[in-house]
């Protein structure tokens, strides 16, 4: 019985190449599947969940310009397939970083959500005009405004993210978004203009003719 069986199987395999190929493929996939499965357990990387990684790249202004109440919700939405170009405070740099992380092409900023500003701003309350309505305090997502009802409010400049969510609710329009002045400590050289663009510009002016 075993002899007969063996002979039949081998004969069957040798006679029909299709079966041979099938058997080979099945056994190969079984082996590689086992190896991969083992590797995925053995070398599992305990990384940050993707949401946290995206959240870490967002500028944390909590401004809501993306349409979500804060950066974390937007990060969650990105992981669920939302567009990555809705963050004006982060600008192109943030878009590029997220695109790099998620390995997707980097689109340009969606202007519908706002424009990227050159300088960071900070909220400033014109204190003699403040009526003490506390509306800005409620609006501030990072609790950076100090004050109480009927008392003058003020912004803790170091904690202000420049989200300008406090500007709209103010009934007397006494909040300004002031640009943060650059200091000598912050100053650094700018990346040189690529020669190509300089050249094209000067070529148009006819400086590098001949």
């Amino acid at each position: 019985m075993p002899d007969w069986y063996e002979i039949t199987v081998i004969e069957l395999l040798t006679q029909s190449p299709l079966l041979t190929a099938l058997a080979a493929l099945v056994s190969l996939s079984a082996i590689f599947g086992a190896v991969l499965g083992y590797a995925s357990i053995k070398f599992k990387i305990e990384g940050n969940p993707l949401v946290e990684q995206v959240d870490a790249l967002l500028p944390q202004t909590q401004c809501g310009q993306c349409g979500f109440p804060g950066c974390k919700p937007y990060a969650e939405s990105i992981i669920n397939g939302d567009a990555i170009n809705k963050c004006p405070p982060g600008g192109q740099g943030t878009i590029d970083a997220i695109a790099n992380l998620l390995d997707v092409p980097a689109p340009s900023l969606d202007e519908e959500h706002g424009e990227e500003s050159e300088v960071r701003t900070v909220a400033y309350i014109r204190e003699d005009e403040c009526i003490g309505c506390t509306k800005c305090i409620v609006a501030c997502p990072v609790d950076a405004i100090l004050g109480a009802a009927k008392l003058m409010h003020t912004v803790i400049a170091d904690e202000c993210t420049g989200c300008d969510l406090c500007v709209e609710p103010c009934p007397v329009d006494c909040i300004d978004m002031l640009p943060i002045a650059s200091t000598m400590v912050d100053w650094h050289w700018q990346t040189p203009e690529p020669a190509e663009s300089l050249l094209i510009a000067s070529d148009r002016r006819g400086e590098v003719a001949a």
Binding site: K72, D143, T161, P171, H188, W189, A195
Partner: protein, 652 residues
């Protein structure tokens, strides 16, 4: 490259035969090597560092004449921050008369340096002035108008520094406001007070930058003071085993002058091959000791302290004569300068004064460089003052340092990697810098770049490599700073969210409690109707819902508090009708401006090519309507106000 050079006798075993040979003989030439080895006890091997370049030295122009003095300028501008660290704090006021050498700004915190009046005169201003910095920004400065009398404040130094404690000497140095004179300007007192035991003191006399000869001339003319200064330094540092002076082999006069003053001291004068940037602290340490300062660490952690020769001179003056750092030797050179040479200038002298006094034709030079051609920076204006770290003012004409041609494409020739003294791959850094790939830049050790400029110097494509590195470094630092801010904002946002959630839950809890209380009251009233006493009913409820009772009482008191507050608020508003009116008027104008703004927006959309969606239009219209309503409401209240005013006044 490794050539063995002899050195002077060590301290433990003073060498008698040393005195009858000129010290230069032992270490000057390779042909005398064998002789030198025989003569000396130790042989110091010097090492080579990777890369380096040999730019034209151009030092001859400024070494023909001795060090000269400059006439007093009309005003002296003294920045409060001429060093690395916290700016000094002014302790004089505008209009105050100051004497030469008087302290006018004191060091603030440990990493800071004091500023002294370079001459006698009147403080005319304390304000922001342009300072020598590549940003072209302004910083707080004290301005002194010299009276020309040069009246000194009383000052005195130590008679014999050997008798003094290191702490006392350190205090002298700190009080004199001495900061590294070679370039960076790190407060010297900090450097001389390391946590570790120091076994090697290195005096940097390499002066490897082209054009600059300030240290060279200082050594030629003040060798004795410099040696004394070095001895003071050695004393402060607890007499390190080796005290080395590293000097490039293109300064033979300075070498002779110093070696004539060595006598029997244990100071070793070591000639090193001329190669830029041998004067970089890390490079000099490698040349002289063969060890590399680990990345991110200080030389002190290897037991090494490295100071500039000019600093040693300033320290001698401070300790032995009590003269604070109020002047320095500065090289003024370049083809646009008629009288190139070295000048003793007061700190704070405006560059324009130096230029006119040395015959610089400003029309000829397209740029002015403070420092050397390799690492110096261009000045934004000639009004900036000279500061403690200014070792050179370079006024080149167009032919001498032509402005760079347009950068061509990088052909990855690798000449930059050959020249890099830090063994980096400059072209890789350039590509990553262009693409802002911060991760890769750090992986390629961008922060080990000393910005010496050797790579840009050899680049056949004229690429401003150093600027890419500086920009990338700045951006990475900015990025890190932003990250810290973002993390804090995230934390604050999360606590904010938690608080709001907690408040919402508390609100629900309160509502529940109120409902329970209302239910209980209802129960009580029905019981009252049925004839029971209120007393027993309350007892009943408390019995029936013991867990609610405490809540009840608190909400009750809370409610009464709320009522009180509301009453108070009402009273408050009633007692100040004028305020109320003012407030309303302000609100009115605000509402009006809002209305106008929206209408304007509606009338002329921001961009013509972007058709406003119906949605956006609707919201805008709604906003306008809202603002109009608000406006009406305020107007109505304003109209009602005088009517209210009458009775309330009557009441009062």
């Amino acid at each position: 490259m490794n050539s063995s050079l002899g050195h002077k006798a060590s301290k433990q075993t003073p060498q008698t035969e040393q005195s009858d040979r000129p010290p230069g003989f032992t270490s000057n030439t390779v042909s005398n090597n064998a002789d030198a080895i025989a003569q000396t006890i130790e042989v110091r091997e010097i090492h080579d560092f990777h890369g380096g370049i040999h730019p034209p030295e151009n030092k001859r122009q400024s070494t023909t004449a001795p060090i000269r003095d400059l006439p007093l300028p009309d005003q002296l501008i003294l920045p409060l921050s001429q060093h690395i660290g916290v700016p000094a704090q002014a302790i004089v006021e505008v209009g105050e008369q100051v004497l030469k050498g008087q302290l006018i700004a004191e060091a603030f915190g440990p990493v800071s340096a004091a500023v002294h009046a370079p001459t006698s005169g009147v403080v005319t201003d304390i304000n922001e002035y342009l300072i020598p910095h590549s940003s072209g920004m302004s910083a707080p400065c004290i301005v002194i108008k010299p009276d020309g009398e040069e009246r000194w404040i009383s000052h005195s130094g130590c008679k014999d520094f050997h008798d003094e404690l290191p702490q006392t000497l350190l205090k002298h140095i700190r009080d004199a406001g001495i900061a590294g004179m070679g370039g960076a300007g790190f407060p010297s007192a900090i450097k001389l007070h390391p946590q570790q035991k120091i076994d090697t003191l290195i005096i940097n006399a390499a002066e490897c930058e082209p054009y600059i000869t300030a240290d060279d001339m200082l050594m030629r003319e003040h060798a004795e003071e410099i040696i004394t200064g070095i001895q003071i330094l050695a004393h402060i540092l607890g007499e390190p085993e080796s005290v080395l002076i590293g000097i490039e082999d293109n300064k033979s006069e300075a070498w002779d002058a110093l070696s004539a003053q060595l006598h029997n001291s244990n100071i070793e004068l070591i000639e090193i091959p001329t190669k830029y940037p041998s004067g970089g602290e890390k490079q000099l340490i490698e040349i002289l000791t063969g060890t590399q300062v680990p990345s991110g660490k200080l030389p002190a952690e290897l037991g090494i302290v490295c100071l500039n020769v000019g600093t040693a001179f300033a320290i001698k003056q401070a300790v032995c004569e009590g003269i604070p750092l109020i002047s320095r030797i500065t090289t003024v050179t370049g083809k646009a300068c008629a009288q190139a040479g070295n000048y003793r200038v007061l700190i704070g002298t405006p560059v324009s004064h130096v230029l006119s006094a040395t015959g610089v034709d400003e029309a000829q030079c397209s740029r002015l460089v403070m420092g050397g051609p390799m690492m110096g920076f261009t000045l934004p204006d000639t009004a900036v003052p000279l500061i403690k770290t200014t070792n050179c003012i370079l006024a080149p004409d167009q032919s001498e340092l032509p402005t760079n041609d347009f950068a061509q494409a990088c052909i990855r020739c690798g000449l930059c990697a050959e020249a890099c003294p830090a063994s980096l791959l400059p072209q890789q850094l350039y590509w990553y810098g262009r693409s802002q790939n911060h991760e890769r830049l750090e992986a390629h050790n961008l922060f080990d770049c000393i910005e010496c400029g050797a790579c840009s110097y050899v680049c056949p494509s004229n690429i401003p490599l150093v600027q890419y590195y500086r920009a990338s470094k700045g951006e990475i630092r900015q990025h890190e700073k932003d990250k810290i801010i973002a993390d804090r904002a995230r934390q604050r946002f999360e606590t904010h969210q938690q608080r709001i959630e907690k408040e919402a839950q508390e609100k629900i809890a309160r509502r529940e409690a109120r409902r329970a209380a209302a239910l209980a009251k209802q129960n009580a009233s029905t019981e009252k109707v049925s004839g029971s006493t209120s007393n027993s009913s309350s007892e009943n409820t408390s019995e029936s819902s013991p867990e609610n009772s405490s809540n009840n009482s608190t909400t009750d008191s809370g409610q009464s508090d709320l009522v009180k507050a509301a009453m108070a608020r009402l009273q408050n508003t009633q007692t100040s009708p004028e305020q109320q009116r003012q407030k309303l008027e302000r609100a009115l104008s605000a509402a009006q401006s809002k209305l106008q703004r929206y209408e304007k927006q509606l009338a002329n959309p921001d961009s013509t090519d972007d058709p406003r969606t119906a949605d956006q239009n609707n919201t805008l219209l709604a906003k306008i309507e809202g603002a109009r309503l608000q406006h009406q409401d305020i107007n109505a209240r304003l109209d009602a106000l005088p009517a209210q005013q009458g009775p309330s006044e009557d009441d009062v």
